[in-house]
Amino acid sequence: MTIANIMLVDDEVPFVEAMTRRLTKRDVEIHAAYSGEEALQKLSKTNSIEVVILDIKMPGMDGIEALKQIKLRFPLVEVIMLTGHATVETGIEGMKQGAFDYLMKPCDINDLVAKVEQAARKKRQHEEKIIQARVKEITSRRT
């Protein structure tokens, strides 16, 4: 099984391609999107994506806006902010909006993979709990 199923959202095409290659080699299943809108579209089509790596500065819908939308529509999906624009304010803003963490470009690939693992684990734990709650509810109904 893959370490995680993630989506990488960035308007810089070469960056996305390079990252895809490297992460795939490390057992990460990776989808790509080149804009905030595209990301939301893909997320609505498939629910296997666990972690989204989101660039902050993008034309059209910017990172923070996309983050808000993801948290609104797909609350279980964890988001890691990625930025070449090293502002502490956007990082803090992202955290406030529910991002899991943030990283600065260029980033160390191993750091990134570790973070992705953590994010995926958190998401899976959440899902587990939801399933358990459901089961409990069904079984308690029987009585």
Binding site: E12, P14, F15, A18, M19, R21, R22, K25, K57, G84, H85, A86, T87, M104, K105, P106, C107, I109
Partner: protein, 563 residues
């Protein structure tokens, strides 16, 4: 100091305008007042003087007339109350003379009784005048005709100036004359007493122009109208008459004349106009002096005020220019900040891509096909280098961004040590090319101060740039030191450059002062620094030794961080 400014001609113009305006506005009232005093008052005063003199002369005329009438009355009384026979007796006459002399200080010298033929039949007095004949004397002829006479002054038989008062009486139907001589001196004193000022005097003339009194000053009655005082262009018809005209020497004189003794005599009072109006002349002169002094004062004030005002304006203009320059510098810095942000972001992305691709190559190299490749080490080393340089790019852009971030002049609590380190980083490249080593000795417990990050950057960068410029040919070092002293935070920036000569050390903070060639320096850098530090209630000082180096000392009260 306005002369040193670039806009000196404009200021010169301004000064001239101001001076003329002040002079115009001030002189007009002063002139009006002085003119009023000079002419209007003068005329009124002159008239008053005239009136006064006329009154004076009138009074004296009355006095003299009254004197003469009194003497005549004495004789009339005497002749009325005693008969010809009584008075013929010399001893009787003598007694009467005595009583006249004692009781009436009228100046009676002698008494005489004269018969109708002019023979003096009785005489009382100091002279030997018994048995004198007066038949030819004009006074005798007049009194025989007119009953009474007051004669002109004449020397007569006695050789002294005197005049006669005589009255004709009848003894039965034979006329007889009682005659008295009036002492000229007493009479003269009456007239001579009229003296006013320094040149005023009076005299009496008769119709023939002969003086009846001895005037104080030279007076030729034959001159002018008075010689024949009824024959003038303007005959004297009024009792009192006054006029001004030039006398025999050409000096303006005021003449006041009054008719006496039934128009037979003329009392003439004259005084030089300049003397009569001496007070007025004095006031006029005074007003001229006041005008002149006031005028001089106004002129002086106009100059001083204008120059001082224009100096203030020049200073204000200069400050405004400095402020403008500072605003522009700030603006430049701000846009630089924005540029930096854009650039940083633009660079980060390509750098990130490069690093990822290098990483990707490294990943591929782990495939087993590459195992045992002799070039592996070198390949790994090269790829690591790419990674390292990528990280370095990131550091630089981070620093750049943090500098740019602070490029609002927002005031906040800042740690000077951080600022210094940023400045060192920013200047490190330039320092390397100038062969200058940057060192720092920063107190780790430095308290924060309340200030604007941008401004502190500006100040420190300015000092560093100046030092680098001074040392670029010879190299050296710049050392930053920070420490706390009492209630203040102190930053010392010391270089080992050529130093600043004593002569100009006091001027380096002056605006527009620069030792750089034209076009290279604005001369504003240090003055802006000075302004910034002063605004924080701090101080910036400089110590320098030629040949050894320069140290700038910035002192900022730490207390301002508590505000």
């Amino acid at each position: 100091m306005w002369r040193k400014s670039v806009r000196a001609p404009y200021y010169k113009h301004l000064i001239r305008n101001m001076i003329f305006t002040i002079l115009g506005v001030s002189f007009i009232p002063v002139f009006l007042v002085s003119w009023t005093i000079y002419y209007a008052f003068a005329n009124a005063y002159h008239e008053k003087i005239n009136t006064h003199l006329v009154t004076l002369v009138d009074n004296h005329k009355r006095q003299i007339d009254s004197f003469l009438n009194a003497r005549l009355a004495d004789i009339l009384f005497l002749s009325e109350n005693f008969t010809f026979a009584q008075l013929r007796d010399s001893e009787f006459l003598q007694a009467k003379l005595l009583s006249l002399k004692n009781n009436y200080a009228g100046g009676f010298v002698d008494l005489g009784v004269v018969d109708a033929d002019g023979n003096q039949v009785s005489y009382a007095g100091p002279f030997k005048l018994s048995r004198v004949r007066y038949a030819d004397a004009p006074w005798f002829q007049t009194v025989m005709k007119n009953q009474v006479v007051v004669s002109d002054v004449f020397l007569g038989l006695r050789g002294f100036p005197h005049f006669i008062v005589a009255v004709k009486r009848f003894d039965g139907d034979r006329p007889w004359i009682l005659r008295a001589t009036i002492d000229f001196i007493a009479f003269n004193n009456l007239v001579e007493n009229i003296r006013i000022g320094q040149t005023g005097f009076a005299a009496i003339v008769n119709k023939k122009g002969e003086l009846q009194t001895k005037p104080r000053f030279q007076f030729n009655p034959a001159q002018g109208c008075f010689g024949r005082f009824i024959d003038c262009d303007q005959p004297i018809t009024r009792e009192i008459y006054s006029e001004e005209r030039a006398d025999e020497n050409g000096e303006m004189t005021i003449y006041v004349s009054a008719l006496l003794k039934n128009k037979e005599w003329l009392l003439v009072y004259q005084q030089k106009v300049s003397d009569a109006l001496s007070d007025q002349r004095f006031a006029q002169r005074l007003s001229l002096i006041i005008f002149a002094m006031g005028g001089a004062g106004i002129l002086l004030m106009a100059f001083l005020l204008s120059i001082r005002m224009v100096n203030r304006i020049a200073t204000a203009d200069q400050e405004k220019e400095m402020m403008n320059k500072q605003v522009i510098e700030s603006g430049k810095l701000a846009s630089l900040g924005e540029l930096a942000t854009g650039v940083a972001h633009e660079i980060n992305n390509p750098v990130a891509i490069m690093v990822e691709e290098a990483g990707w190559i490294e990943d591929i190299l782990t495939e087993k096909e590459f195992g045992g490749n002799p070039h592996m080490d070198e390949l790994h080393r090269a790829l690591k280098q790419i990674n390292t340089q990528g990280k370095r790019c990131k550091e630089i852009t981070t620093k750049l961004l943090s500098f740019a971030r602070g490029s609002g002049s927002a005031i906040g609590m800042i740690q000077l040590n951080e600022i210094i380190e940023e400045v060192i980083t920013l200047s490190s490249q330039r320092a390397k090319y100038a062969n200058v080593e940057m060192r720092s000795q920063l107190n780790a417990n430095l308290p924060e101060i309340k200030a604007s990050e941008t401004e502190m950057h500006q100040v420190l960068l300015n000092l560093v740039n100046n030092a680098l410029y001074a040392m670029e040919k010879i190299g050296g070092s710049i050392e930053f030191k920070t420490f706390q002293r009492d209630e203040t935070v102190v930053v010392e920036v010391a270089d080992t450059g050529p130093g600043i000569p004593e002569a100009i050390l006091g001027r380096i903070f002056d605006p527009f002062f620069t030792t750089k060639p034209v076009g290279q320096g604005t001369g504003l850098g240090l003055s802006i620094c000075y302004g910034i530090i002063r605004k924080m209630d701090g101080d910036i000082q400089v110590k320098s030794t030629v040949g050894k180096g320069t140290t700038f000392i910035i002192i900022i009260p730490a207390r301002n961080g508590l505000v």
